[in-house]
Amino acid sequence: MTKPLHDCSIAEAGALLRNGTITSTALTEHALDRIKTIDPLISSFITLTAEQALADAATADADFAKGVDRGPMQGIPHALKDIYATAGIRTTCHSKLLVDNVPTEDSVVAAKFKAQGAVLLGKLATHEFALGGPSFDLPFPPARNPWNPDHIPGGSSSGSGAAVAAGLVRMAMGSDTGGSIRGPAGYCGTIGLKPTYGLVSRRGVFPLSYTLDHCGPLSWTVEDSAIAMEVIAGFDPKDPGSADVPVPDFRSKLGAGVQGLRIGVPRQWFVKTDGVSAETIAAIDDAAQTLAKLGATIEEIELPDFELFNACGRVIMFSEAFAIHEKDFQSRPLDYGLFTYLRMSMGAFTTATDLTQAMRLRRELALAVNAKLKDCDALITASTLGPATAFAEIDPNRPPNLLVQTMPFDVTGNPAMSIPTGFSKSGLPLSMQIVGRAFDEPTVLGIGAAYEAATNLHLRRPSFAVAKAA
C-alpha cells in the first residue's frame, strides 16, 4: 500500500477490504486516532461514537470473512451532521434546546448506511439548527477550516466540510437549504453534492425549511459522493417531498468524459457581484477552458438576476423556519444563539402575501433555469465567491452574509455540486458548482469526475492536517 489509509477513497478502501489487505477495524482505528490528534484543532465532531464504531467495524469484518457483502459502504467509516436523528445517539442540532435529545429512531439516511454495514464515527458540528453560525455562544464550539483554523469552514454543514477536508472521514452527510452543503465544500476544498429535491429522504433530519431542505454528501472525491448517493437515494413514501422516480446509476458517467456536452455559464451572476474575488473569477474561467479542452462546448448564458433567487429563497426559508420554531421562539427565545435568533426572527416579519409572492416567483425562476437546461446539458457557475472568511472578520453582533451563490438551485431543486477549482494566494480553496437537469446527477458527477481527473486538485491536502497526521 503506497497511500496513507485516510487518503484512500471509499472505492479504494472498499477494494482493500474485499481483497483482505485491510480490515474495517484497522480503518476505524486509524480514523479514531486521526480524530484524536487533529479534531481538537478544528472541532468538527460534537459526539464521537468510538465504542459503537469499533463494534460495527468488527461486525463488518466478520461479514467480509463470511463473504457477506451489503454494498459499497460496508466497513467504511463516515459521519453525520448533527441534525440527522440517530437512535440512541445524542442529536443536538448544535443547540442548547436539544442538548440532551437522544432519538429513539434513526433518520432514513442513517438507517440506510447502517443497513449497508457502514461504520458511524459520530455526529458533526453544524450551525445551530442549520441556520445560525458560526457562533461562540452555543454548547459546542464552531468547526474550523483545516486549511487555516483561523478561518471559517462555511456552514451550515461546517463539521462535515472540515472533517472531510482534514481526512478524518472520506464522506460525511450534510444538508443544503440555501447552500449548506456547497458552501462548506467550497470553503474546505471538498466535493459537496446537493441532489435533486426529493431524491434523498429528509425523514428524521431536523428541518430548517421544508420545501428547500436537501440531504446530500460531502466527500474528498467525486466518485465517493456517487457511492454515497447509491446508498441514500430512493423514494420514501413517508417523506412528503420525496419523488417517486427511478434512481439513476450514479457512477454510470464517471469515466465518460465531457465530449459533446453543452455547458452554460451564467457568468454575469458572479462577475458583477460586489465582493467576488478576482481569483474566483479567473479559476472558473480556467475551469471552463479546461472543460472546453476536454471536448465540451462552453456557452455564456443569461439567467434571471441572482438577487431574485436569493430574495425568493430567503423569504421562504425564514418563513418556514419560524413556523417550525414559533413556540420555542415565543417561550424561550434566549436559549437560541444570537445569530440563530437574529436570522430566524426575520420569519416573524414575513406576511402570508410575501410568502405567496415568493412561491409564485419560485415557479417562474425554476421554469427559467429548466428552460436553459433544455438546451444545455449542465451549467457551471460560482459556488463560493472567494476564500473562507477569517473568524476575526465576523462582527459578533451580526450574523455574517457569506459571499456564496448557492441559493438558486435550492429554489429550483436542480442537482448542484460544488467542486474545488484551485487555491487563493492565501492558500485557501476556491470553488465552482456544476448544475444539472432534474434527477440527472450522473451527468453532474460525470463532468465533475472529468474535471477532477484533469486538475488533480484532490491530491493536495491541508498541510495542517498532514503535519498533524500520525
Binding site: T196, Y197, G198, T211, L212, G241, A243, V245, E307, L308, N310, A311, C312, R314, V315, F318, F322, E326, F329, Q330, P333, L334, L338, Y341, L342, R343, S345, M346, A348, F349, T350, D354, T356, Q357, A358, M359, R360, L361, R362, R363, E364, A366, L367, N370, A371, K374, N397, R398, T412, G413, N414, R437, A438, F439
Partner: protein, 71 residues
Amino acid sequence: MPDDASDEQTLNAEFDALAGRAGIEIPESRRPAMLEGLKDLKRMTQLMRQPRTAANEPAGAYAILSITRSV
C-alpha cells in the same frame, strides 16, 4: 416626501406591530440588528413583486416534475 426620521419612525412602528403579532418579546439590545434585518427583508419582499398575471400561480413550485413538464 418622507424624511429619514419619519422613515425610521415608520420602520420602528412596523417592527413593533409585526413583533407583537408574532408574539415575541425582543430585548432592547437586539433591536438595532433586527431593524437592519427588517430593512433588508423589506428590500427582498419588494424585489419579489415583479409584474405577473393572476394566472401565474405557485402550485407545484417545489415539485420539480411539475416544473420540468412545463418547459
